[in-house]
Amino acid sequence: MSYALIIGEVRNGVFEERNLDSVGICCLLQKKTCLLVPDDTAGVDERLVDTIVKARVAENMFLNPVNLANIVERLARVRGRPDCTILTHSSSGMEFAAYLSGMMGMAIITDVSGVDRERQVFLKSYYSDKIFGEFVLVEQKPFIVTVRSGSFKSYAAEKVASANVEYIEDFPVDESRLFLEYVEEEKSDIDIGKADFILSIGRGVGNKDEVCSYMELAESLRAVLSGSRPVIDKMWLPKARQVGTSGKTVKPKVYLAMGISGAFQHIAGMKESGCIIAVNKDQNAPIFQYAHYGIVADMHKVRDKLKQILSQT
C-alpha cells in the first residue's frame, strides 16, 4: 500500500505542535498517512491521519537514530515500506532523517518549505532564504523529507473520524549512544519574553566592541536588547537574550531588528510581534518580507543618528 510515514516528535509525553507541518505536507501530497509515535503520547489529534502506530518504548528511544531506525524498519516490515518518510526540520528530525538516508540509501530533501504535487517539486531554502532551489527526485523510489516549521500546518486537515491504532513492541536498546538526561539551560534574571519593546541585533553588528553602544541605544529607547543566533554564538550577548527557535519566542508590541537578515529560525521566534521594524543594508534581506516597516541602511549609521536625535530631546 502506498502511504506516507510521519515520525512524530514527542517531548515529555506531549505531541509537539510542529508535527502539524508533517501532517500538512501529507495532505498536500494527497497521501494515505501513518503516524509513528511512542506509546503514551498525549495531544495527538486522531482525525488527522489514517493510522497511528504506537511503539511501546520510552520516549527517549526516539532520540537515538539507531533505535528509531530499528522501530521504523519494524514498521516497514509490518506495513510495507512507505513512499515517503516525513519529519520536521528540527534538531531531532534533521538528525534522524540524514542517518536513515545513509543507512537505507534513500534520497533526502531537507528543510522543505513548499511542494508542488503536480510537478513533484520540493522547494528548499539556500543562503538563509535568499534563494530557493526546486528539487525533484531522480527516480520514483522511497524518499525522506524534513519540513520547515510553519510551512504546512495550515494544510493539516481532518481526514477520518478516528485513526486506526496499531501497536509494535519489543525493541533492542542500542548501547552505542546512551541517553543520560535532559539538561535545562541556565536560568537568567532577564526575561526578554516580557518586554513590550525589543531592540534586537544580528550579525551585521560586526564585532563585540559595537555591542555596548547598542546596549546604550536600548537604554535610551527604554527597550530590552536581544540578539539573533550569531550574536549569541559569539558570546557577545548572553544566551538568555537569544530570539529564535533555539532561544526565546517573543511577542513584543515593537520588535526593532538591526543587522538581522532573517533566517527562518529567527523569524519563527519573533513573527508574532505587534510591529516589526527592520534595518538592514541588503534590500533583499528576507526579514523585509516579515517586517511592517523597513529601513535599508547601515545599522551603525542608524544607531548614531538615533542617538543624536535622542540626546537632543
Partner: protein
Amino acid sequence: MNILVFTKRVAATQEESLRIVGDGKDIDMSKLAFTMNDWDTYAAEAAVKIVEGTGGLVTAISMGDAGSDEVLRRAIAMGANEGFLVEVEDALDDPFARASLIHNFLRAENIAFDAIFTGVQSEDDQFASFGGILAGLFGLPFASMVVGIDNVEHHHMVIRRELEGGVQEKMRIRLPCVLAIQTGANEPRYVSIMSIRKALKVERKVYKGSAYRADTKTMIRREKWVYPEKNRGATILAGELSEVCKKLLEILQTKGVHQ
C-alpha cells in the same frame, strides 16, 4: 585520538543580494568573497581542542575545487595537522552523493579515525545532512546539533546536543562516531593572516574525487533556482537618514513604546 574534520568553502552572502542568472540555472557568484563555512570553524575548534588534550591527529578534509585549499590552510592555521582536498569539478547538489563519495574515499584510502566532525550544516545549501548520511553509510553512532563535549574517554565521549527551547540532551556516545557540531559550541580561535600563510608549508594532499564516484548515486536533482515568494513586504522608510530616523521614532510613539 585521530579526528577527521570536514570543512567547506562557501560564498559569504550574509550582506549580499544574490542574483539568479541563466534562466534559473545559476547564481551570479562573480562578486562574492569565499570563506570557511561558519559551522565548520566550530567543528575544527572542537577537534583541535580535543587533540591538544589527548594527543593524536586532526585531519582537515575538504571536498570542492582547487580553491578549497584556502579553507584547509585556515584549518591548519587553527591547529589541524594535515589537510586533504578531495577535488571535484562541479559541486554536487545531492548530499547523499557527497556523503557516499566521501564514504568511498575514506575506505579506499584506508583513512583511520576515532571520530568524524562536521558542522551541523553549511551556509550555502543548509541541508544539514552530510554527517548523518555518512554515519548511516558507515553504521556509526551519530549525534547532530552538538553544543558541548564534556568528557572524552578512550572508548566514548559524554556530549550534549541542543533540542529546542533551551533544552539539551546529554548522552554517552561510543567511539568511533560522527558528530555534527553546532555554532556556539566553543570559541573558534582567531587565526592571523601570518599563520594562514605559514600553513602553506604543511602538506595538503590532493585526491581526485572522480576516483571515488563508483556507486555514488545522485538521487535528487535541482531543476532551477527561484527567488523567495514575496510576503506582505515592509513599508520602506526612504529619504535622508535623519528624516528616516525621525519617522522611526514617530512609529515607536504611535505604537506606545516611546514618548
